[in-house]
């Protein structure tokens, strides 16, 4: 192993042409800055979506009544509704971990805010990974009392009914659909649990923090529904045993519903966490293909700047290269010395760019809410993608000038003025 001391020459050369080298360093600073400002937020937003989908529940397959995502964008009412008996068919399927019906009974109005009354069962807690802050989650059998036992979503007990606690009772006006209109009925609730805050699920309109959860039979009884099987459910949430069995369970559910006489995408629509992740990643990968073009343009600026500057440098140092060769430097020594010089130059720019990028990304958080998604780990992720690309392309583009330098015939170079 030859001594590394020769690279001291490369380092000392960097201080030599300050103006020119500053331009190169600047181009590398810009590459890192632009790269992190363009890619950082995209990584941040993608990560945010993926995270919220992951946190939305435990291997969830959601079945909604009607065409939830029709091409017209509006809800198309189904001809046949999901109901409580559908739940019992799904429960029997292989790889099912939990099943919960979802019945949106109506809503409560608090000023300009509102909260939904959701009828479901105890399994909803696992399926939707709801965390209890205090108290218990609703049970599976009706309470048979004048008060309906409920769990309050985070916003409900923190803002809408501020100060309310477990075991307290409250009377509210519930607004429910009635024919083609609405009617208001008074309802008495007993709080048995308070839920922790959780992120809103993208594309689902109901904010999980703005709900009041009750046992579904309590809700049916309150509304005087006698034949439970005739009550149309809004959705059924299913948890698969593990992530890998989501797909097979989803197709089993589709087959079962078909046997029961449901038409997919008309009577019901179905989406799993896996579908959602796939969809998100698919949208983003298209976006990345587009961003890569911009990124390539940014990279080419820094790469060309190092190419040109190293060419000028080599040309300018012809005689020195000849001298080094006369002293005993091999071709490979000359080559690597030029490469090290280029690498150190770009590294200086990259490091400054990383520091500035970090500061700027954090400053942008004050002005743009979506920039909150650009956490420190997202910034590190962004750097881990762009920095190696910048450094590698810098080396690749300085290879040619370095090669030219190594090919210089020493006797000719020494005559060079």
């Amino acid at each position: 192993m030859r001594s590394l001391s020769k690279y001291r020459i490369s380092i000392s050369n960097i201080r030599r042409n300050k103006l020119r080298n500053s331009m190169v360093i600047l181009s590398f600073i810009l590459a890192v800055l632009l790269g992190s400002i363009i890619l950082g937020p995209v990584y941040g937003i993608q990560n945010y979506y993926v995270k919220t989908v992951n946190e939305a529940g435990f291997n969830v397959i959601a079945i909604f009544s009607g065409n939830f995502a029709s091409s017209s964008g509006s809800f198309v009412p189904p001809t046949k509704y999901l109901n409580i008996s559908t739940v019992s068919y799904i429960e029997k399927l292989e790889n099912v971990y939990a099943v919960a019906p979802v019945f949106l009974a109506g809503y409560f109005v608090f000023g300009n805010k509102s909260a939904y009354l959701v009828g479901t069962n105890s399994q909803m807690k696992q399926i939707a990974t709801l965390d209890i802050f205090k108290g218990n989650f609703v049970g599976d059998s009706p309470s048979n009392s004048q008060f309906i036992k409920v769990d309050l979503g985070y916003n409900v007990w923190n803002y809408l009914l501020k100060g309310i606690d477990v075991n307290q009772t409250v009377s509210l006006s519930l607004i429910i659909p009635y024919g083609y209109s609405y009617k208001t009925v008074d309802i008495s609730l007993k709080v048995i649990g308070l839920l922790k805050e959780r992120p809103k699920i993208p594309s689902i309109n109901v904010d999980p923090n703005n709900i009041i959860i009750a046992n579904i039979y309590d809700v049916f009884n309150f509304l005087n529904f006698t034949n439970y099987n005739l009550v149309p459910l809004d959705a059924i949430f299913v948890s698969a045993k593990d992530f890998n069995s989501i797909d097979s369970l989803e197709s089993n559910i589709i087959a079962t519903l078909k046997n029961l006489g449901f038409t997919k995408d008309k009577d019901y629509s179905i989406i799993s966490q896996k579908d959602a992740l796939y969809y998100i990643n698919n949208v983003f990968s298209q976006f990345y293909r587009f961003l890569n073009i911009i990124w390539a343009a940014i990279l080419s600026i820094s790469s060309l700047s190092i190419l040109i500057v190293m060419f000028i440098t080599v040309r300018e140092r012809y005689k020195e290269i000849g001298t080094l060769r006369a002293i005993g430097a091999r071709k490979i020594d000359v080559l690597t010395m030029i490469l090290v010089e280029a690498f150190v130059l770009s590294l200086i720019g990259v490091v400054i760019g990383m520091v500035l990028g970090y500061i700027i990304l954090n400053m942008l958080k004050f002005y743009y809410a979506f920039m909150q998604t650009v956490t420190d780990s997202i910034i590190i992720l962004t750097y881990s993608v762009i920095v190696p690309e910048i450094l590698v392309s810098s080396i690749v583009f300085s290879l040619y000038p370095a090669y030219i330098a190594s090919k210089v015939a020493p006797s000719v170079a020494l005559r060079y003025e």
């Binding site: 001594s3 060769r325 430097a329 020494l414």
Partner: protein
Amino acid sequence: MKKVIIELKNVYKEYVTNYTKVLALNDINLKIYENDFIAVVGPSGSGKTTLLNIIGALDKPTKGKVIFKEQDLTELSDKELSKYRAENVGFVFQTFNLIPSLNVLENVKLPSYFSSKKIHEKKFYEILDLVGLKERIFHKPLQLSGGEQQKVAIARALINDPVIILADEPTGNLDSKSAESILRIFLTLKESGKTIVMATHNLRLLDHVTRIIYLQDGAIINEVIK
């Protein structure tokens, strides 16, 4: 009988440019002995630099052999020639050719970066003392006079204990006083047993050398042995 260090046998060097051919060396036969101090003289363009470059393996002859330790240098690879230069040759140029971004000490250390010879740190200071620049080690070349720069270049040429020192008009860019002190250094080196080949126009030197080779149009037209 003194030991032959390097021998040139029927060496020709022809430069072919777009329009003309120049015969820079024309059938050179030369034996360089241990502790020789050879002055190569001749008009500009007579082939002095070309001759030194071929002895120092910076250039290959078009025809002929350059024998060093029973090995023909013209057959060696670039890597082997680099090793030969690093370990056996010390170059001194007319234009000093120091690396401007490095200080005096670093310039003197330079050859050690490319050689596998171990050099004791003490030696750098000893050699800088020898050329009288011990006080200037942290100065950059541009802070030195021409004569001082050439002294650094000589120190650099000596650091690897070369078998031969090749000096191409080392006083050509210097005033007579500086030239005088540079020549004195070379004479001291000769006294200490070094072998030196120097292209020169400096007639003052000719009294002190062991041999004078007269070049004209690439050929040795006369040789004086003292």
